[in-house]
Symmetry: C2
Subunit: 288 residues, 2 copies
């Protein structure tokens, strides 16, 4: 399959993902012109100066003549933005997003996009740093991208958007929006929530200065707890009940460990650790 070539790509929201997408599209010569659409011209202009994008705008009208639009804003703005874009972008223009949650919203986004060809995407890349100044052209390479088309989604558009992410080095898979949310809740949101809880507990347990003596274990285990609280409040509140049972399962395991330790039962402690280590190693086998 040949890589897609776009004439005019509009990126809505120039953060870590939007900025990295701009870099990656340029680096791989997939876009002739990249436009950043935002709300604050003062914050967009340095990106123009830095050569990250070719044009910046605070008007949806910048999507006139676009052949690809990628929403890199918080997901609760997608509906409004898609309605605006539907009025100005060319009929049939490809539109996708980089949001971490899908669910029932995908149908709403389709309706809002009207005559544009919308395909929901979730490139599973990111980092604990925010903002386009941390953008990396290689952010998407080797990672997974989940597309969540509906039965009515234009098949040609699904193929084109899939080829776009593949051209950026991603492994693409199709899932239903609900299966996507279940899977991502398990493999991504739950580890984030537990890392945040561990860091929150440490805030009570003593001074941060103790961590001058911390090794890689602490820094890796809690790396994602340094992520953007605003973004994660949105993600966690998208399905406020989805994490309830998984989080309770973690509480149960912590309680179990406490009890085994209190009872000084080495064989049971060992069996418990062994089960955990085996699961961790099994997931390593699936690592891409």
């Amino acid at each position: 399959m040949s890589a897609p070539r776009f004439k005019r790509v509009v990126i809505a929201g120039l953060g870590l993902l939007g900025g990295s997408l701009a870099l990656a599209l340029k680096r791989r010569r997939l876009a002739r012109r990249v436009v950043a659409w935002g709300r604050n011209l003062g914050r967009l202009k340095p990106a123009l100066k830095a050569g990250l994008v070719d044009e910046v705008s605070v008007e949806a009208a910048c999507a006139a003549g676009a052949d690809l639009i990628v929403l890199c804003t918080p997901y609760d703005r997608f509906e409004g933005q898609l309605k605006e874009l539907a009025r100005v972008a060319p009929r049939g223009c490809l539109v996708t997003d980089v949001g971490s949650v899908k669910g029932a919203e995908v149908a709403r986004w389709h309706r809002a996009a009207g005559p544009l060809r919308f395909v929901a995407s979730h490139p599973m890349a990111g980092g604990e740093h925010t903002g386009w100044r941390h953008a990396q052209a290689g952010l998407f390479e080797g990672a997974a991208c989940l597309l969540t088309p509906l039965p009515r989604t234009d098949r040609g558009a699904v193929l084109a958007i899939g080829r776009l992410w593949q051209a950026l080095g991603m492994d693409v898979a199709l899932l239903s929006p609900l299966e996507h949310d279940r899977l991502v809740g398990r493999v991504s949101h739950l580890p984030h929530a537990v890392a945040f809880a561990l860091a929150a507990a440490q805030a009570q347990l003593g001074p941060a200065g103790d961590f001058a003596w911390a090794g890689k274990g602490w820094f890796d285990t809690t790396r994602v707890a340094g992520s953007d609280p605003d973004l994660w409040a949105d993600i966690f509140l998208h399905h406020p009940r989805r994490l309830d049972a998984p989080l309770r399962a973690v509480e149960t395991e912590i309680r179990r460990l406490r009890k085994l330790l209190a009872a000084r039962r080495r064989p049971q402690v060992l069996a418990w650790l062994d089960k955990a280590a085996r699961l961790r190693r099994a997931t390593e086998q699936c690592r891409r």
Copy 2:
């Protein structure tokens, strides 16, 4: 300060740490001859063949003529090994260890070491892989090493052992054995326990194959859950009550998050995430 030079170094237990120590001593020309003392000659011989050490032995007598002995075995064997060594090693020979727990045992180890000059060390380096085949000469570089001398420990020996770890690229600090255990419980054992609990919970939640779609978040958060269960059973059971309160603090924070989500309270969810992210970032400032 000039780096120490040893004529004959005995490493008891040739695992990841013992093997890395052998490599590092050779690489930095700190030891003329490195001897691995173990229990199973068949398992030691490949390390001799690989050139990792100059000599292998299953007899404590290999410590005759040694000027440095480093215990890299599980800590519950230290006492017996020190008694054996005290009979064969030269009077005043420097002895240290790489164990993760100290506490009241340090005084016992001193007694067992008799006329040898013992100084307890905890180089805070390691990894989820075990065995000398994963040894790295740079394992200790840039990491912290905590020494836990007693008031009666020979000052010259403390200096010499401190210089040894410094020569391997480590930052050395002195702490009492109890303060060491409190600190390490907080910055190392607790993150390990939580990572194990997260992995244990995942073993109930669905197939490991789901993690083909996991990003770096999962793999980093649980990296240490792939560590050696035997080693961690020993560490956790050393002070079976020490982790109880910290683990309960993590349970409390998980429960708090569940309640805030169930109540759909965005400002409170955001404040909770923000507190956690701020603690995490404050610890990053202390990172060496």
